[in-house]
Symmetry: C2
Subunit: 704 residues, 2 copies
């Protein structure tokens, strides 16, 4: 007895702890995978340009660690041209550039092709960002195999290859997908979660948070991303679990420390300069530009994806990857900013200039004769700065075009880093323009009044940061999670308000121009059964207008009666229609609602009964309620089939006059799949999520 | 025609913009009020010790701005002792201390008494923190007058006086209440929001965010606070509005700049030192201590509040304030750390020590002979440091006791700052202990390996910050919003993971020891109709077990029939029972559910009809449905009273076998007030929020 209680206690304890243990495992593995991907992708990126002969598994930075020379050249690192043409690391062989270019292209295309082959052969679900599908899954839809181990493995490898190939893609969306795979895999080990789809979604929400947490080193941003963007239903308990999961994964990443730095902040901004209230105008302008950019990107990308679905374009995915990677490599190598790793580009753009810097972005005439410049600590542009700006403009346009084509090809692709990069370029350009404007008008009293601190008056790096937030906001329509992710990415806590302004204006602008984020657009494109926040119905509609069968259609509602059906009736019903399930009513004469039975379960139950009980014949009665209560006026000599246990006695119902707005609320908040529409206790029709989506998408001009 | 369209267009535009405009106004006014309170409370705090003779409206800092002397003494600032005894600012008159003490006590008690009189005379709702009530209001309950203009005015003034009196209270909870008042007041100017309680709650959620945003200079933390702690239902649209509102208010505060510094961050930590993985253990320990502290505080405070409700203690609120403020003043003046403004104390505790500092908290033997100390950059404690630690321990105990008594007296009181201070004290003490441990064992290989950076190895300020988060977490059980608020308060983005660990452990510990935050405990204490996240029911219960009337009670369910009732029947029904409303059924013979009519509306409708139609007699029939459909077998010669328009034709229903867990979900997520329980289409009973709360609170041992 005592032992039993003890066992029960342990079991109860395990039951309540198993969820925590599960997300702990998810956090640990997600952190580890992120670390592997970080190391792998850096190594592959560098492999395009050269190799570390002493230890080929080192990337350039690791290879040159022990070297005392500058970053770009070190004795241990062999660029391909140095390896094959001349051994002198500094010597300028005439063909060196060409050989380097060639190797760069060959490796890039090779990586991309290996990636697409792996994806196509082993895990077709591994392609793309995965966030639209995660949203759909968290919204209650089941896509079998989408979160399997093969997807995880191939997506991890594919991600390394894709980033290594230098394609215009990031690893955050895919990280969310991979983390969800990890969550799904671990959930199977915990029956409480593995066997209950709703419970499993709690784990998946937490996993999504961990995914963003490791992609950006942003645990809080991850939780908020899961809350704002990924999850459908996010109660406090899930938030707390997500918080834990994100924390564990970020901690693992920090301990393993793949970046080799002590800092968890990816694009650390080392300045503390205050921004001025007047600068809110350019920041809002950046928000506007970001919203427009996001909309252009979303529309263009959707157009291409639609073409891919409907024309010959989609029939040659491997060739498509080949072409995209080839063009990307050909365009990127000669261009300073396109050739660098996108993360490095962003880091460069958000950082500030100091007199010692040799980057052409920081080419200012510091020894100007103008005394005002010294007061402002902003200086007139030097000769190469304008070249750098032109290069940036070219990079922006090329990146836009390349990313439009890249997001949607059959390799794992994320959008965050490319969007951030595009925004950072826009921001930096506007920042430099503002700076030069201020320098040119330095004697204006307003500017004199504004710029009196000891810090530089205008900081183009800050504009880059704000621009990055604006563009990402325009593409994904995130608000609060965006600002938090940006804060955690840059450490710029002083710049909350500029970031908030940009996120706000960008979302406003974007929402005016087109409805919904790129993820929601892709959900609509793929026709996933997902009820988005933007999906709205004509406010005059009531449940009776949308339910199936329609009132005026004349077609009957298929129901099952408690006691009056025979096996052949049920078989006929199952094969005679394609509805998802049947309301159970008292009888044909008094059709009052008793419960609900799903068609699939009904079919299974019938098959099972037939298998185990050979006495069942076509005329055997089928009971959908307790046999004791049968009002037996005609006593059957045949054994009844009792299907009482498959009847859901508490189906959700609404009356036929319920406004559709309320019904939508029911579906959204309660995560339902169907609702029975009743009047005076009798079922009139059934409303499924698909019915609603069909109505939303085809009858509402706003939703196309 | 054209003009009409144009007008319609403008109207539609205004309709969609009015919400934004409303939260804009709320943000602006909230920021302004926060600024006034900041300035006022600092001035009053300083007034206890002295006055600026040149300009009495200056606080000490402003008074001494132009002075070149140190902070503590300046020629313009007259302490009371200096003013009344000796003119020499540095001279040490024997009675100076005594006079200063006396004035301090007099002013403190005076301010507290004025405060309590104002509250009692003009706005009794202005006392306390207001967060439990805001939670209840956002949960769907209406407390008339709680968010009125008088409450706002008196709470603002009372807050200044309360902080000025040096009581152990903060201004954040009250700021949330004040912001909600502002929201409520502005909502009246926008009919779309003022006339619809659900819409008004959207504005109130946004206001709550603005309240925290200005209290801490933490806009993101504010939004998350509103999401996690205050709001019941927080859709994306509300989040976006809250985001905007918090941003506007924070911006106003920044532009008005009451602190006189350029920095928005209140307790800015100026260190960047990395923490070590090994330190996670002390951080987790701090979380544990914070959770325990929070529980002790909550239990003790609740005990006192319950006494106040049930014994003579509550009958003398003014005397209570007198006693509390007197004791606080008497104890605080002689104690260095209690006497300082609580915010300043926190600032001191989270900051790091540098060799030049003259605070006794930073008394280290920097010129130690131990060469290891120089490597660690942590030094052995000096003689006055141990005194400081003892003083801190005393402060911790006194603060705990005083705050337990203070939170609940009849002045506006917040909990955040006192909790943060207590936690910061605990954290600093543990930090110093860890530091001295590390210094004593500096040669241990583990410690040598851990501490190799150029920064101090152990930073007691960081421990103070983590401890502050832990204690606040223990008291309020916030998680993610807590971490974000702490980040925005301190700017310590490097320390996300320590803060997360502390928040996590503290919540875990707290939840094991007692259910729910201090706010939820107060909600339960006051028996507000609020369904908290912690309120749970036995999982075996179904709707039929909780509904009224009970199945086995024998008492009937009061229903109205569509066509069969007379005026006298209805009158009898209204006066014969005290339920909230009646299900409308087809007839007594076939009692199938048609709709729902609330008792209050029914009574109003009957009164109205009787007033306008003198022909109504007791036998007049009452119709609750369309007259056309009346199956008139007995034609009344009397005019029927048609109450069709007050019947809700789409009441929410559940079947009697629905698990109560699902029903709770319905109430929580849909914000319902009642649900009709049906079986086979017939109403069996009604479940109101109050029934559920009664069940939760009285039948569940966990919830007391």
């Amino acid at each position: 007895m005592n032992r039993k209680t003890c066992c029960g206690g342990i079991k109860a304890c395990w039951d309540s702890a198993s969820g925590w243990f599960c997300v702990l495992c998810v956090g640990l593995l997600t952190g580890f995978i992120a670390c592997v991907i970080d190391i792998g992708s850096t190594w592959m990126s560098d492999l395009k340009e050269g190799v570390c002969l002493d230890a080929f598994w080192f990337n350039r930075e690791q290879c040159c660690w022990s070297s005392s020379q500058a970053d770009d050249v070190c004795d241990e690192w062999f660029t391909w041209s140095r390896l094959f043409i001349s051994k002198d690391p500094t010597g300028e062989h005439p063909d060196a550039y060409f050989v380097g270019y060639l190797f760069y292209i060959i490796y890039a295309v090779l990586f991309a092709l290996v990636c697409v082959f792996l994806v196509r052969m082993f895990a077709p679900y591994a392609c793309g960002s995965g966030i639209p599908e995660i949203k759909t899954i968290l919204g209650g839809f089941i896509i079998r195999g989408y979160l399997g181990k093969w997807t995880l493995l191939i997506k991890s490898v594919g991600m390394i290859l894709g980033v290594g190939a230098g394609l215009n893609l990031g690893k955050e969306g895919p990280m969310v997908h991979m983390a969800a795979c990890v969550g799904n895999i671990f959930a199977y080990f915990f029956p409480k979660y593995g066997q209950n789809e709703a419970k499993k979604r709690e784990i998946l929400s937490a996993s999504a948070a961990a995914g963003v947490a490791v992609a950006f080193g942003a645990p809080i941003g991850g939780v908020l991303f899961s809350l704002e963007e990924a999850s459908y239903y996010f109660p406090m308990k899930t938030m707390f679990r997500s918080f834990f999961c994100a924390m564990v994964s970020a901690n693992v990443l920090r301990i393993l420390n793949p970046y080799g730095s002590d800092n968890m902040i990816m694009f650390y901004v080392d300045y503390q300069a205050q921004w001025h209230v007047m600068e809110l105008f350019p920041f809002a302008l950046l928000g506007l530009l970001g919203g427009i950019f996001g909309t252009i990107f979303n529309r263009a990308n959707l157009y291409i994806c639609r073409l891919r679905k409907s024309t010959w374009l989609g029939q040659y995915p491997v060739r498509e990857v080949l072409v995209v990677s080839l063009i990307t490599a050909v365009l990127s190598f000669p261009h300073t900013y396109l050739r660098m790793n996108t993360s490095e580009l962003i880091k460069l753009l958000v950082s500030r200039c100091s007199p010692g810097s040799d980057s052409s972005l920081c080419d200012y005439r510091y020894n100007t004769s103008n005394p005002l410049a010294t007061v402002l600590q902003n200086y007139p542009a030097g000769p190469t700065l304008s070249t750098a700006v032109v290069l940036l403009a070219i990079a922006l346009i090329l990146k836009l075009i390349l990313t439009v084509f890249t997001f949607g090809i059959k390799v794992p692709t994320g959008l965050f880093i490319p969007s951030l990069a595009a925004g950072a370029i826009m921001g930096r350009m506007l920042g430099i323009a503002t700076e030069q404007f201020v320098v040119a008008h330095a004697s204006h009293p307003l500017i004199e009044k504004m710029c009196k601190s000891s810090q530089p008056c205008i900081n183009p790096g800050l504009y880059a940061m704000v621009g990055a937030a604006a563009t990402l906001g325009g593409v994904t329509r995130m608000t609060i999670s965006l600002v938090v992710v940006m804060l955690e990415l840059t450490g710029g806590l002083n710049y909350i308000i500029p970031l908030m302004i940009a996120a706000m204006v960008s979302k406003w602008t974007g929402d005016r121009l087109t409805n919904g984020s790129i993820y929601e657009e892709h959900i609509r494109l793929n026709d996933y059964p997902y009820l988005g926040a933007y999906d709205e119905l004509d406010s005059m509609l009531v449940a009776a207008d949308v339910m199936q069968p329609r009132r005026d259609s004349g077609s009957p509602l298929y129901v099952v009666t408690q006691y009056d059906m025979t096996v052949s009736d049920v078989d006929q019903l199952i094969s005679g229609c394609d509805v998802k399930g049947f309301p159970v009513v008292v009888s044909q004469e008094s059709p009052y609602l008793v419960g609900w039975v799903s068609r699939r379960e009904l079919r299974w139950a019938m098959d099972r009964e037939r298998k185990y009980d050979p006495n069942i014949v076509d005329d055997s009665p089928v009971y959908f309620a307790s046999v004791q209560q049968v009002n037996i006026n005609d006593t059957h000599e045949l054994t009844p089939v009792n299907l009482q246990n498959i009847v859901d006695l508490s189906p959700t119902t609404v009356s036929d006059q319920t406004p559709m707005e309320t019904v939508l609320d029911f579906f959204r908040k309660l995560g339902l799949r169907q609702i029975i529409v009743t009047r005076n206790g009798c079922p009139l029709g059934v409303l499924t999520k698909k019915d609603i989506l069909r109505h939303v998408r085809h009858h509402n001009p706003n939703n196309r």
